[in-house]
Amino acid sequence: MADESVNQGIPAPEGAAHIIETDYEIGQDNIETKIGPFGLDIHNPVFLISGLSIVAFVAYALTAPTQAADFFGWLRPTLTSTFDWFFLLAANVFVIFCLVLIVSPYGSVRLGGRDARPDYGYPGWFAMLFAAGMGIGLMFFGVLEPAYYFGTPWGDEPLGAARPFTEDGALIPENVEAARRMALAATSYHWALHPWAIYAVVALALALFSYNKGLPLSIRSAFYPILGERVWGWWGHVIDTLAVFATLFGLATSLGVGAQQANAGLNYIYGIPNNITVQVILIVGITLVALVSVLRGLDGGVKVLSEINMMVAALLLVFVLFAAGAGTILSDFVAGLGAYAQEVIPLSNPFGREDTGYMQGWTAFYWAWWISWSPFVGMFIARVSRGRTVREFITCVLIIPSLVCILWMAVFGGTAINDMIADPAGSAVKANVIDSYAPELSLFAMLESLPLAGITSTIGIVLVIVFFVTSSDSGSLVIDTITAGGKVDAPVPQRVFWCTFEGLVAIALLIGGGLGSLQAMVISTGLPFTVVLLLICWAILKGLAQERQV
């Protein structure tokens, strides 16, 4: 045990940051021991409760699959349709909150105190933000969503835009422009300001309460202004356990679903058999690479992989841009920005909407999903963002990624839409998104319409797989930190455990069935977390006010 004289109470602040006076010592609830050669430093009881309840839920899903599927398959859509207005309003609150912070005097507070300097340069920082938060989504939905909104025959057009296709699939030229415009605006709405504001709020709270106020880097710390010292007891244990839960199941179910998607892509391009064996091999492969990354640590593993991935993704973007006609696409991008600016307010209005298919089936679903991921992504962003001012932080976490996502959607989605317009009958995109719904093939269908499809599709699959790796490794680090009571220097075997555990849970659910139902469960946690995030906004304001007094 550490020498008592080193772990005195917190010294009086010396002007750089306002440390919260609390008797809680980071690591005081931890069990530090050794099992054979492996060191352990785990938070009691969060580590044990999280681990056991995850095993319990997996066992439930495996032993009562129909019941689990029925229950969660009912719960999730009920929540997103009953509470759609709540999700939309909350997300709007987060966006306005972030934008106001940028221009307010609170924006000059620096995360880490007045003398802190950024831990990472811009390229590495951005790469990690994207890879953790959104990489897989952009790959999977980049073509699917714009193409879907453009031509959906299932009555869920955003804001009731008129379809540009007849029943037989012929083009209706006068509806094309409006449909394209709305498709890009509605997609951008889901990938620009709102989701990044959700992440920014959580990340800001965690960074503020750890780096400026000295509380452990764990979700419970954001609640100190609200719960006070109770946050170290069972309130905090529940909060942290829920966060671990949502993170691990979110990652494991995405991993399982992602393996299915990658397998479908491999089958489409190379004819590799589409079965569980291949998918299990994919999961094992992804987990192994993630393990190597986690062993090499944040700078040597996660950051390096994220940067490589961003470069390859950027190359793919540039290729598609030029292969599809840079001039057209770039003007589409500018038009898309304009369309987003015009439509964002009607799209984020939760009342009096008739396009409930879109609003509930897509928007509310997305918001619940982003919010259930926000503990993980927010904590990871916080981990890598020390040294930035609040203004710089929000600008770089909110504005710049939004622009990049809109550009991405314009390039990938715009190309897909152009493909559908140019040749509706022969378009692979239309065949796989509108005529029959095979969303996992949408990216490859779009790439087919461009030259060098074999190479770009392979790059696409590799990108998808590596984005899963970067989610898995950053997620393992986050879970490891939370279950070690906020310590970032727990022994390496612990993070190896969580990384492996995630892969095993994914494999178990894949083989035994239950991916869909547990993914629905994760998204259902989005509702309570929304309340949590609203409270966090208030906690941030209180925290920033104290910083400004120093």
């Binding site: 045990m1 550490a2 020498d3 080193v6 772990n7 917190i10 010294p11 010396e14 750089a16 940051a17 440390i19 010592e25 980071i26 690591g27 050669p37 492996f38 880490g112 105190g113 003398d115 831990d119 990472y120 750890s210 780096y211 000295g214 509380l215 452990p216 880097l217 062993l295 090499r296 640590g297 944040l298 700078d299 040597g300 593993g301 981990r383 890598v384 020390r386 040294g387 680090l477 906020g486 310590k487 970032v488 220097d489 727990a490 022994p491 390496v492 993070r495």
Partner: protein, 138 residues
Amino acid sequence: MFQKIMCPVDLAHRDTLDRALTCAADLGRHYGCPVVYVGVTSTAPGKVAHTPEEFGRKLEAFVEDEARRRGVSGEAHVAIAHDPTTEVDDALMRAIADTGADLVVMASHVPNVLDYIWPSNGGKLAEHAKCSVMVVRG
């Protein structure tokens, strides 16, 4: 023979350091050179300190105490690693360059089977550092 001795210290596990600290201090007195005590910390709050600045203050207090007790001239140096568990070696290598040390005296565990998979901190430093390294075991 040596101009500056560097002694990495883990403030969270001070009870394991005694042999290395004694060694470093003895060598410092023998060669008449200062001992730089290097602590590696992350930027996130941890068991020892809530901020790197606070860590620096605790390290300085420790160094003052050590130097007085052992009769050497001591300095404190804080090395920051973003992910301390995996990046200690790199942080210590940087610290060697920053402090200009030409001898490192550090504690390490007795080698076990795990060292074949990933080597201990002392092992890596002994292999890659440009200056002399003394690994004190036990």
